[in-house]
Amino acid sequence: MAVHSLDLEVPAGKTVVLVGPSGCGKTTSLRMINRLVEPTSGRILLDGEDVRAANPARLRRGIGYVIQQTGLFPHRTVEDNIATVPLLNGWGRDKARGRARELLKLVGLDRALAKRYPYQLSGGQQQRVGVARALAADPPVLLMDEPFSAVDPLIRASLQDTLIALQSELHKTIVLVTHDIEEAIKVGDLVALFRPEGRLAQVGTPEELLGAPVDDYVAGFVGFDRGIRRLSFFSAAGLDLNAGPVLAADATVAKAQATGEPWILVVGDGKPRGWVPAERLAAMSGDTPLGQVRADGFGHTFPVAGGSLRAALDAAVISPAGQAIGVDEDGRVVGVATFDQLKAAIQAADRAGRTADEPGARP
């Protein structure tokens, strides 16, 4: 593996993801930062200091490191694994273990696991311990080499969510290597996409890579559905919602017919129960409560606050009525949106994105 003329600036407190095919040098680049690999030329500056000027062991204690195979010490308990760097830094055992317990909680693990050995944990738990160990001495910089690649997709998603939540609290400078562009887009503030021969193809925010790939290689790597995925970065808050088709379960068939809507969303206590097509109501007596009419499923909903247009579009696609149901924090229906309304919102967000000076602002 080789890396050529890599010039990359990692902003403090941000997550930068190095992504690319196998053998593109992304891992080599990562390992140069903590000197597991020495560059043949060039410099790596950490906070303005050349890493090669530092004592390697001391340098590394200030840089958290997480790898795919976890690299947990099999002969140490979970708490002693986490306490590794504090102990190396000369902390007392009790203090280091106390810190380890704090970190267990931070990465979402039960304290009861503290005395277990790594072989007694699931793959996902081991990886969380790996993250906790890397954070134990509170290093400003965190290097992560394919940290979530070895676990199944559900666990991976939950580990990614944990990382995003941790980062919003800790503001570490994170360099994460992955071959998974989805992961890069999900967790990265900046994504650096490598070409197979070890050169940078494009560096930008996830939205920039999806919206304005510099060439066919980048466009191909981010995938054919990048347009849809880019909708993840557009907030659903600007979407127009209709309350017209939304009726309570105790409303009558006559009232439903009076709306003139082709589909009625029946709600109970504000929560969606199901869609009823207008033609099903035609033969029914006008005073029948809607709650007694057989309703179709409603697929899933999207949160109006904090949700993305991608979630809204997906909710519309899966709905029998072709309409997305927007809900509040408590799962109560706020309103529904048709494809036409989604289209208008997407076009508005796209125009705003293209004209903005700073297209990288994350929703």
């Binding site: 597991l36 062991a57 590394r60 690299g71 010490f73 099999p74 590794t84 190396l88 007694q120 290097l143």
Partner: protein, 210 residues
């Protein structure tokens, strides 16, 4: 089988059992002490391993009696002579196990240790050697059992062990002695093996047990 022989010769049996333990148990323990630095060096510098392996294998190929005799000019007909010979034999089993144990440390673990800020020596002492313990003790068990068995032929150069009863029993056509010594040697080997298994379990609570 003459059972009454056992109680009437209890003191002598006990004495030779102790002599046997000294020869058979001490030798592999000294062998372990020598094998550790040799094995560590061989695991660290690859070029060093082939010559070391050749030497310990050649030593193992020398017939025991020939080795005892070869050591007589320098060490005489003594316990030391036998202990040195048995120690040399044990190297052939223990050194490769030390090397294999160290090489079996998973690369991600080694890499993580380095990246956490362990220097080479600390990493060896606190990560690599502890992880090599099961394989090293595996080698020590084989060396211990074979050494306890081999110690009986020390009697051929006049160094006392339970082997005395084999020669004496054969010369006097008195098989009881032979049976008793045989059972004691096997029991001794089993007991030492059990102790080593216990030591390994105590040192490695982290190994998955089914």
């Amino acid at each position: 089988m003459m059972w009454s022989w056992i109680p009437s010769n209890g003191a002598q049996i006990w004495q030779y059992t102790q002599d046997h333990i000294l020869l058979g148990v001490l030798s592999p323990l000294i062998g372990l002490a020598i094998s550790l630095p040799l094995g560590i060096a061989a695991a660290r510098w690859r070029w060093f391993y082939p010559p070391v392996l050749t030497i310990v294998n050649v030593l193992y190929a020398i017939p025991a009696l020939a080795l005892f005799v070869a050591l007589i000019p320098s060490l005489g007909l003594s316990d030391t002579n036998v202990i040195v010979a048995l120690t040399l034999y044990s190297l052939c089993i223990i050194v490769p196990n030390v090397v294999a144990g160290l090489r079996a440390v998973p690369e991600p673990v080694r890499q993580a240790a380095t990246a956490m800020g362990y220097g080479a020596l600390r990493r060896l002492v606190f990560v690599e050697l502890p992880l090599a313990v099961p394989v090293i003790i595996g080698g020590l068990r084989v060396a211990m059992v074979s050494s306890i068995s081999l110690a009986s032929i020390a009697q051929l150069i006049g160094v006392y062990s339970l082997g005395y009863f084999f020669i004496d029993g054969e010369q006097r056509a008195f098989p009881t002695e032979i049976y008793v010594a045989l059972v004691l040697i096997i029991a001794l080997a089993l007991a030492c093996d059990l102790v080593l298994v216990g030591v390994r379990r105590a040192l490695t609570p982290w190994v998955a047990r089914s």
